[in-house]
Structure formats: C-alpha cells, structure tokens
C-alpha cells in the first residue's frame, strides 16, 4: 500500500465536491482518476497534495498522514498550464529541481536526459514564453518530475499534445513506472487511461461509481460487445433475444448484448452451420463503460 484515501469528504458550505471517496494506490502503480468536468478530480488532487484541507476522512502515504509526508516526494502537473515565462528552459528546471532539494550535479544529468527524451535540446536556453504551447507543456511536465518524486500526480497531461508528443508522454509515464514512481493521473481520453492504468476510480459529481482494477470494471459488464461480419439480415438480428442494440459500421454489425450468455445462441443462429466471416466477442471499451456509467459525454 502507498496512497490511501478513506472516506474523504470535501464540502464548500452547502456544496459537496467530493463525497466519501475511497481508493488505494499500490507502489509503482499507475492509477487513473476519471470523471466529467466538475466531478471532483482536481479537488481530490489538491487534497492529496495538501493544497486544500478535506472536510473529513483520511489521506495517508504508507500509513503516514499526508500532511506529514516530505513534500519533496511529491510531483504535480496541474491541469492549467503554466511556467515562469521569463525564465529559460534549463534555468526553470534547475529552479524546480533545487527547490525540491536536488543537488546540481544529479540535477544536470536528469535535465540532460529528459530534455533529450522530449526533443527540447534546441530550446534549452530559450525563454519559456518563446516556446510553442506544446513545448511549454513538455517543459512543465519535466519540471513536475525532475526531482525524482516517489509519487506523481498528472492532471490531464495529454490535453493539448499532438499524437507524436502524446506517444512520447506515454513512453515517459511507463519509464517513470519502471523507475518505481507511483502515478495518479486524470484524463478525458479514455484510450490513454485504458492503455496505461492498472487501476482506476470513476467519479461522478464527487461520488465514486467504481474503484478497482480495469479488468474488474470490464468484468462487471461482461463480454457484451459483439462484432459480426455476415450476410445475416439486420432486421432478424435486432429481433433476437439478448440483443440490446445494433449499429452498422461499414460491413460490420456492432451488437451490444444484454448479457454475455446470449452470444452462443446468436452464433448458432447466425452461422446456422455455415461459414461466418467474423464473430468477435469482447469487453466494452472504457469509453463505452464511462458513457454508460456517467450517462453523458466525457468532455
């Protein structure tokens, strides 16, 4: 066990931003906190980082109350992007590193590594304000973990990045995980969460709808996503027992089942002993589960 939230509540007078939140993040794990805007993600991050006090409940790191934890163990990338515009890239990283107690020699090595990793070598001696938005974001990201934190919180780290830099960031997150860093992050892009997270917590208006492993969440729904490529008539398919919804994607039927157990019967009827080009039964994607759980769009 590393980070544990137990019955955490945050109230603003008559408004409850976070209500009875519980989750545990294991050491070296990547944990996703997902929810719509206003679900309470940033408030939760701020409580963990001791930037805000919780109304009630307990937040601990290895059993120690978070307020007593050495702040240099923590790293944070806020949702809103911001660095010191007048400072040069390298100066900025040295400042944040030294502020977290790193020695200049070790800091230099880390800066060299991450600047090369994120392809910022040419920008090293430029003022932050002269960089593109994406490059500023990369500098801020490096600043958040340059001091080798034990626990890193990334609030919407992927927003605003192009696909190439998004892949670079995923690679960086996995590298940090390899180094033993425990990571908590939020994202509106469910494919990223699905790709990176071991465990997650799904928030809706401050209430946790699910907390656990991604596989457990998917198992809750079962394998109800059926993809068919066949000449079987659509009208017949829709009438079959266990079929909740049928969508057409080019030459394929995308069928949502009410329960996984109907799949075998459907296979028998559709194939009828004949050749069938495609019959694939899968778990729902996190995006589909999310939409079903929170009942709306992510953004």
């Amino acid at each position: 066990m590393t980070l544990a939230l137990e019955h955490v509540v945050k109230k603003y007078k008559d408004f409850t931003a976070v209500n009875d939140l519980n989750f545990i993040i294991g050491k070296g794990e990547i944990f996703g906190l997902i929810g719509q805007n206003g679900a309470g993600k940033t408030t939760t991050f701020r409580m963990i980082l001791d930037l805000q006090d919780q109304t009630s409940g307990k937040i601990t790191w290895d059993g120690i109350p978070i307020k007593k934890v050495n702040r240099d163990w923590l790293g944070y990338l806020p949702e809103e992007r911001g660095i010191f515009p007048q400072m040069k890239v390298e100066e900025q990283l040295i400042f944040f590193g030294e502020l977290r107690g790193m020695q200049r020699g070790e800091l230099k090595k880390e800066i060299d590594f991450w600047i090369t990793f994120f392809d910022l070598e040419e920008k090293r001696h430029q003022k932050a304000e002269t960089l593109s938005k994406g490059n500023q974001q990369k500098v801020q990201l490096i600043a958040s973990f340059i001091h080798k934190p034990k626990f890193l919180i990334l609030d919407e780290p992927f927003s605003g990045l192009d696909p190439v830099n998004r892949d670079l960031l995923k690679e960086a997150i996995l590298l940090l995980k390899e180094r033993g860093v425990t990571i908590l992050f939020s994202s509106h892009q469910m494919d990223n969460v699905e790709e990176l997270c071991d465990h997650l917590c799904l928030l809706k208006r401050g209430i946790s709808l699910f907390s656990g492993s991604l596989l457990d969440l998917k198992k809750q729904y079962g394998k109800t996503k059926l993809t068919l490529r066949t000449s079987f008539p659509l009208s017949e398919l829709k009438k079959m027992a266990g079929v909740k919804e049928v969508k057409i994607d080019r030459d394929e039927y995308l069928v949502t089942l009410t329960d996984e157990s109907f799949a075998e019967t459907i296979f028998d009827v559709v194939s009828n002993g004949q050749y069938i080009e495609k019959f694939s039964l899968d778990y729902l994607s996190l995006d589909e589960i999310f939409k079903d759980k929170v009942g709306g769009n992510v953004e």
Partner: protein, 413 residues
C-alpha cells in the same frame, strides 16, 4: 524549509534586479535627484538670468541710496535725469523699473513704473527694499542717531525656551526642528516613492505567478507561508538595494561636487539630529514599507490574473496619497490636528510621525505609541494575511475586491 525560502528569495531577487524596468527606474531616480541637486547650475547653463536693472529717484530729504544695495538679482542705479527721460529709457529696455521715492505726510511714498510687467519675485524684492527704506525714513524723522537707528533695526531678542513639564517637552532648538523637518520630508518622500514602486511590484508578481498557474507547482513543494515570506523578504531586499544605490549615489554626488558645499549643508543638518530621531525615522521607514508589502502580497493573491492587479491596489495607493499630502501640509505647519491624527494611523504614520518627532516638541510617549501601533499592525496584518493567503492563493474568482474576498471565504470555510 529555510533552504527553500532562500531559493525562492534568490530567484525573485535575481529576476527583478536584472529586469530592465528596475534598472531604468533606478537610473531615472538618480537622474531626477541629480537635476534637483544641481538645478541652479543646470538653470544657469540654459537660462541667462541677468540682474534686474532698477533706476531709483530719491525725491526725499533723507539719504536713502545706501539702503538700495545691488546684489546678484538686482542692480540699483541712481540717475540724475528727469523722470520723463527715465520713462523713455524704460521703454527702450535700458531699465526694468523706475522707482520714484517721495514724501507724503511724513510717510515714504514709492511709485514703481515699468514697461514690461515685473515677475512676482522681482516685485517682492523691490517691495522689501522699499519697506526697509520706509523704516529708515521713519527712524530718521524721530531724530535718532545712526547708532540708535541701527540698534532698533538690528536688535535680536534672546529667546530661551523652558518647558516646566519635563515629561512632555524635549526642548528642541529651531535649528533642530528645521533639520528634523528636512529629514522627515526626505523620509516621507522615500516611503511614498517606494510604496508606489514596490507595492505594485509585489502585487503584480504574486498575481502573475497565480495567473500563470506556476504557483500551483510551487505550492506543492513549499508551504504558502514560505512563498508569502519569500515575496516580502525578496521585495524588501530589492527595495533596500535600490535605496542603497540611490543613497550612495547621492552621497558621492554631494561629497565631490561644488567643493563639498552641499555636503557641508547636509552634515550641518545631520549634526542637528538626535540618535533617537534617526532610530524613529529608520523604524517608521522600515515598518511602513513592510506593512505595504504585506498588503501588496495579499492583494496579489486575491486576483486571478495580472491584469486585475491595478484594480486591487487602488485602495492602498489612495491611502498612500492621502498620507503623502498630509505630510506635505505639515511642511508649512507640523502642529495641526490633521497631522496629529494621521501620525497615529498605521498606514500613514510612517510618513507623518517622523515629521512630528523631528519638527515639534512631542513627548516620547506619543512617538512610542505610534511606533507600537504600527508594529502591532504589521504583526497582526502579517498573521492575518498569512492565514488568508493560504486560502486565497489557489482560489480563482471574478468581480471586485470585496467579491473576491467573499468568494475566498465562501469556498475555503
């Protein structure tokens, strides 16, 4: 934590001291002070101030000519031509004025004729000569000897001030009060200019960090109280650096210019000052600047972006302006009720109280009371601001300053 505080102070200090705006502002102050100190020399380069040419016609029976002694500003001539001819010469710009002095019912009468109207200062100069001549004329009519007349005109009373209430008065001489007045004026101006420059600097600095969201990353590694302290200490150091540069420059300028004439004047002023006055002046200067920096940092934490900084600073600037004008009014009379009231208000006492201490005979209890009030306000403001800063620095809201305070209280309590 001390190390983190030092890192924050170092970054702020280095960034601000290298800023073009700071360098230009320091150079600007130095240039302005140089111009003020050497105004008469600079004026002499650009303006050819010739002495006023005045023709004096004495139609009285008394010999008044020795009274009208020429100096750098005025040259008296005593022509024998008739008045009409002198008026012609006046038109031809040979004279600036023709003064005809005559008698009327045992009183001196003077007619001043000009072709181009005289400046106020020139009118006053001629008038003062004529008034003195009037006194001489009156004395002459009393049939006094020259020695008797001289005694009347030059007799200086010996004035000794004795206050029997020992606890009340410290019995300053007029010279000490004049010196106190000059130094207080200097302290007041320093406080005013420093507040104007550094209140704005600290407010916009906190506001820009908050607006750029860099603050959130900082506050993960340092406590809001450390961040708050770093701003106050960093900007105070910067303010005193600027003060030291300008003050050092002025000292060098005074010491090595005009064969040290001005330096001697400054030394004579400083010699009149007591140690207690110097202590009070420095204490008021230091505490007032700290108080305004605390307010500035707090105001900066209230706004959501740097553009809103000037809006929240306005009340503090208004109070400073009021204090400054009250202090200016004290140059004419430092004993008014207005001065007394403002010398106890912590936001203005730094500008007003040194004047009362230096230029009036107030009891030491009053000075201590005002200083203690200021010190208590600094401590209370610091503690309250610290508590409020923790809550406001990550709260983003719109509206006026009152609305912003309400929002902070609403979302953090």
């Amino acid at each position: 934590m001390l190390n983190k505080l030092w890192i924050l102070i170092k970054r702020l200090y280095k960034q601000k001291i290298r800023a073009k705006s700071f360098i230009l502002m320091t150079l600007f102050y130095m240039a302005i002070i140089s111009v003020i100190l050497f105004w008469s020399d600079i004026k002499a380069i650009f303006v050819n101030d010739e002495a006023l040419e005045v023709a004096l016609v004495n139609e009285t029976s008394v010999e008044l000519e020795p009274i009208f002694v020429s100096n750098e500003e005025i040259t008296f001539r005593f022509p024998s031509e008739p008045e009409e001819e002198l008026h012609e010469q006046l038109k031809q710009d040979e004279y600036d004025a023709v003064v005809v002095v005559s008698e009327e019912e045992e009183t001196l009468k003077a007619d001043i004729a000009t072709y181009v109207p005289l400046k106020l200062v020139d009118q006053s100069t001629i008038s003062s000569f004529i008034q003195y001549a009037g006194k001489i004329y009156g004395i002459q009519h009393l049939n006094l000897t020259a020695a008797e007349a001289d005694r009347i005109l030059n007799s200086e009373p010996i004035i000794t001030n004795t206050n029997l209430n020992e606890g009340l008065a410290d019995g300053k001489s007029e010279e000490q009060k004049q010196s106190g007045m000059w130094v207080s004026y200097f302290v007041g101006i320093v406080i005013y200019f420093f507040i104007m420059a550094f209140l704005s600097m600290i407010t916009t600095d906190v506001a820009s960090e908050k607006g750029s969201r860099a603050l959130e990353m900082l506050l993960v590694s340092v406590k809001p109280s450390t961040h708050f302290q770093s701003k106050i200490i960093g900007i105070t150091l910067l303010a005193f650096t600027q003060f030291a540069i300008i003050f050092g420059f002025v000292l060098v300028l005074l010491r090595f210019s005009n064969q040290g004439d001005k330096w001697d004047k400054v030394v004579s002023i400083v010699e009149e000052l007591s140690y207690s006055y110097v202590f009070y002046a420095i204490a008021f200067l230091f505490l007032t600047i700290i108080l305004y920096l605390i307010i500035g940092a707090l105001f900066g934490s209230l706004v959501s972006k740097v553009e809103e900084a000037s809006q929240v600073m306005t009340p503090a600037i208004m109070v400073t302006l009021v204090g400054f004008y009250v202090m200016i009014s004290g140059v004419a009379n430092p004993d008014t009720l207005l001065i007394k009231i403002f010398s106890y208000i912590p936001l203005t006492s730094g500008m007003v109280m040194p004047m009362r201490i230096g230029a009036t005979d107030i009891s030491s209890i009053e000075s201590i009371l005002s200083l203690m009030l200021l010190l208590a306000t600094v401590i209370v403001s610091y503690l309250l601001s610290l508590s409020f800063y923790k809550r406001s620095v990550l709260t983003y809201s719109s509206g006026g300053i009152i609305q912003k305070i309400k929002t902070v209280l609403k979302v953090t309590t």
